[in-house]
Amino acid sequence: MIRVELSKLLRSRRTWTTVLLIDALPTLVGVLLAVTDLGPRPGEGPAFLSAVLTDGTLFPLAALAIVLPLFLPIAVSVTAGEAIAGEAAAGTLRYVLVRPVGRLRLLVAKLVAAMAFVVLTVLVVAATAYVVGVTLLGDQSVQVVGSTSVSGTSLSTPELVGRTFLALGYAMLCMLGVAAIALFLSTVASSSLGAALGTMSIFVGSSLLLTLDASEAIRDYLPTRYWLAFVDLFRDPILWRDLQAGVILQGTYVAVFFAAAWANFATKDVTE
C-alpha cells in the first residue's frame, strides 16, 4: 500500500506544482540578495541569511529556514489533510478498504506518503538553494576549508554536512507532527479542506500564542515552540537543550494524534 501511495503522490501534477512553488520563494530571495547585495545584518531576518553573502554554501540552510515556518507546513496540511477525507469525497475510500487494505495500514501509508512529500520538497529546496548559493552568492569560503558557525567559530566541511543532515532530519520530524495532526483531522472532517484549514489554524494559532507573554505557562507545549531549534545545531558547541525538548514534544504530538486518528478511523462507518 505504501508503494501505491507513493506512486500516486509522484504521479500527481499537484505534487510537483506545490514543490516548485515552495521552491520559488527561497530562489527569489537568493536572486534578490545576489543582485542587490543587501543582506540582513547578523541576528536579523531569517536565520543564516546574513551569512550567505559571504558563504553561498550556507544558502540551503537559509532556504530551509525560509520555507519551514509557513510554506512547508501549509503544504503538509493540505497533503495529509486530504489523506482520508479526500478519498472519502472521491468515493475511492470504500474501494480501497474492500481490496482489502487494512485501516491501520492505510493510515500508515498516508503518513509515509506525506513524509515522502516533505523529503521531496526539502531535497528540491536544498538542491536548488545550493546551486543558487554557489553560483550567485558569496563563494569566498569554497576554496577555504570550513565555514562559519552561528557562534562565529569555524566549522569543517564534514562537520557542516553532518549538521545539515541533522537539521533536515529535525525539520522533517516537525513536519511529521503537522502531518499527524492533519491525518487525525482528515479522519474526522468530511472535507479535506476542513482538515487542512484546521491544521493550519492550529500552527498559526500556536505561533501567535508564542509571541504572547501571557501564554508563558503553556508555551513549552505548543506544537511550533521548537520548530526553529535546528539553528542551534550550527552553534559551537551545539546547544542541545531546545533540540531535545523539540524531539520529545514532536514525538509526543505524532504519537498522540496518530493514535487518535487510528482510534477514530478503526471503527468509523464508511458511508460516503
Binding site: M1, G91, L97, V98, D269, V270
Partner: protein, 318 residues
C-alpha cells in the same frame, strides 16, 4: 455446510443514531445463486451491502460471507469478493488502466508479475479493451460504470456484490452487463445484485429478497414467486361465443374485456383444445403468472423515501 452459503446474516441490525436503517435482517444467499436484493430507495439496501463488506459496522447481529465471519475475517474473505457500491469511483486524474493497476497493487499479497495482463484482460471483459489513456474524469457515465465493474472483476472473485450495476448505462450497455453477469455465473461466480429496478432483477436473478424499511419482507426463489395464478389468459376474435361455450363447460371466466378472457383452468393446452373443437378461434394463449411487481408491491408499504406527516387523527388519539 458452510461451503454452500455465500452470504448469511442473522439478526443483522444497524442504527444510525436513533434511526434504525436495517432491522433484524436474515439474508441467505447460496453459492451459485444470482440473488436479487430488491427495495425502494432508502430501504436499507446499501447499508446492508456496506455491512457485508465491513465498511459499516453492524449494531448487532452476525454476518457470514463465504463461510467466514465478517468483518473479523475481512483479510481472508474480501480478496475473493468483488464489489461495486453506490456507483463506481476512481482516481479522476489517472487513466482507467492506471486506476486498475493501482487497485490491483493494493490487494494484500498482490503479485507484480502478470499485473499488466490481468488489467488488460479485465478491460476486455467489460468492453473497454481499446480505451485510450485519457483520464477517468473525461469518461462518460457508462464508461465509469464499466471501469467500476472491471475493478470488481480484477481478482476473479467467487462472489460479486453489485449495488445498482446498470445505473447510467444505455440499453445496449445494460444488455452487455447482463450477459457478462450470466456468463460469470455460469462459470461458478455467485452474484448478489441490489437494485430498485424490478425488470432488471426479474431478467437476471434466480432468488430474490425484498427489503422494506430495513426489514426483509420476502425471500424466495424467483420461480416460486412467479408461480402460476391458476388462470389462463386467452385472446379470441369471438369473445361472445367463447364466453357461452366456457359457461357450458362450467369454467369460470373471472375477467374479460373486448376479446381477452381470464379463465380459471389448470391446463392451457386442454382449454385451447376445448375451444378449437367447438370452432372458436384462439389467437393468444398464456399461463398467468404473478409479476415480481405484484409481489413486491403487495409485500411493501410504498416508497421509502417519502416521509408522510402523521395525520391529525393519529395525533388527536395519542
Amino acid at each position: 455446510m458452510s461451503g454452500d452459503t455465500a452470504i448469511r446474516t442473522q439478526g443483522l441490525t444497524k442504527y444510525f443514531g436513533r434511526f434504525e436503517a436495517v432491522s433484524d435482517l436474515s439474508l441467505d444467499v447460496r453459492e451459485g445463486d444470482v440473488y436479487g436484493f430488491l427495495g425502494a430507495n432508502g430501504s436499507g439496501k446499501t447499508t446492508t451491502v456496506r455491512m457485508l463488506l465491513g465498511l459499516v459496522l453492524a449494531t448487532s447481529g452476525e454476518i457470514e460471507v463465504l463461510g467466514r465471519p465478517m468483518p473479523r475475517s475481512g483479510r481472508e474473505v474480501l480478496p475473493h469478493v468483488g464489489s461495486m457500491i453506490e456507483g463506481p469511483a476512481a482516481y479522476a486524474h489517472l487513466s482507467g488502466r492506471a486506476n486498475l493497476t493501482l487497485f490491483d497493487a493494493m490487494a494484500p499479497r498482490s503479485r507484480r508479475t502478470g499485473r499488466k495482463d490481468r488489467v488488460e484482460e479485465t478491460l476486455d471483459r467489460v468492453g473497454l479493451g481499446g480505451v485510450d489513456e485519457r483520464p477517468v474524469k473525461n469518461y462518460s457515465l457508462g464508461m465509469r460504470q464499466r471501469l467500476g465493474l472491471a475493478a470488481a472483476l480484477l481478482r476473479r472473485p467467487r462472489l460479486l456484490v453489485l449495488d445498482e450495476p446498470t445505473n447510467g448505462l444505455d440499453p445496449q450497455g445494460i444488455r452487455d452487463i447482463r450477459a457478462l453477469l450470466l456468463e460469470l455465473n455460469a462459470d461458478g461466480t455467485t452474484i448478489f445484485v441490489s437494485s430498485h429496478l424490478l425488470t432488471e432483477i426479474e431478467q437476471l436473478c434466480t432468488r430474490v429478497g425484498v427489503l422494506d424499511r430495513g426489514r426483509m419482507v420476502v425471500q424466495e426463489q424467483l420461480a416460486v414467486l412467479r408461480a402460476p395464478t391458476g388462470r389462463i389468459l386467452l385472446g379470441t376474435p369471438e369473445p361472445g361465443a367463447a364466453l357461452a361455450h366456457l359457461d357450458r363447460l362450467g369454467r369460470s371466466v373471472e375477467q374479460h374485456d373486448d376479446r381477452r378472457l381470464a379463465v380459471r383452468a389448470p391446463d392451457a393446452a386442454q382449454l385451447n383444445a376445448e375451444l378449437v373443437r367447438a370452432g372458436i378461434g384462439v389467437d393468444e394463449l398464456s399461463v398467468e403468472r404473478r409479476s415480481l411487481e405484484d409481489v413486491v408491491l403487495a409485500a411493501t408499504s410504498g416508497g421509502n423515501d417519502t416521509f408522510a406527516r402523521p395525520s391529525r387523527d393519529v395525533q388527536d388519539a395519542s
